[in-house]
């Protein structure tokens, strides 16, 4: 991915505490835009600018079932503090497909299929998801100004 021009940081359990902190700091400061990691820090990272989480491997328990709790903690790394985020899971065989179905059933959600043979449609789906996020933020931002107007009205 570095070869493709992405700014990538890599975090694994092989790194000691101090080095891990350095990696997370660089990611938090935006010097690296993509963080590749295992579960080690799935529950600890709280970087408000994370807009996308990729499950390159679907979380799996030792018994082969989907690990819905880990899935939720992972995707919860995005959309912090009311922001909107995108979560994308990659599957490549029947077992992984079954686990994805388990996760959908567990949380009662529908996970939308991105067709990798139609990149225009992929782009539109993802853009729509992000756009709706921004609309939502504007609505929230509009609330204080409305109350300010009311205050002005009351003063007048």
């Amino acid at each position: 991915m570095i070869a493709d021009g992405h700014e990538v940081a890599h975090l694994s359990s092989a790194l000691e505490g101090h080095d891990r902190d350095l990696v997370i700091d660089r990611f938090r400061q935006g010097q690296a835009k993509v963080l590749i990691t295992t579960n080690v820090i799935a529950r600890g990272i709280d970087v408000s600018s994370v807009t996308m989480v990729v499950n390159y491997d679907i979380p799996t328990k030792r018994n082969g079932d989907a690990d819905a709790e880990t899935y939720l903690h992972r995707i919860g790394r995005t959309g912090r503090f009311g922001r909107v985020g995108v979560a994308v899971t990659f599957i490549s065989d029947r077992e992984q497909w079954m686990r994805l179905a388990q996760i959908q059933k567990h949380f009662g959600v529908e996970i939308e299929n991105l067709n990798r043979n139609d990149w225009d449609a992929v782009e539109e789906s993802v853009r729509n998801a992000i756009k709706h996020a921004k609309v939502g933020q504007k609505k929230r931002a509009a609330v204080p100004s409305e109350s300010a107007m009311q205050t002005d009205g009351a003063a007048a």
Partner: protein
Amino acid sequence: MQTVLFSATFPENVLGFARIFAPDANMITLKHEELTVEGIKQFFFDCDSPESKYQTLVKFYGMLTVNSSIIFCAVSAETRRGIGNGNSALKLPPRLRGG
């Protein structure tokens, strides 16, 4: 003294354990159907093979301009093999590499 134990995602066996060591505790629980996070749009890519996963990932990233993102991988034997002798682009240095 107060002991507070909290998580959005306790599995049933952890809840049972909590009931044993704190039998009179106040418990607030959610149905797991209510846990999913509003505001996070969830997608998936259906790929043919581990190789096509990687190709799809790279293409996907080529298409997007996202602020920051996290990629979670299992550290399975398969992943290690992929990093070891698969795509050189996935072969990351031990330390992070900035842009």
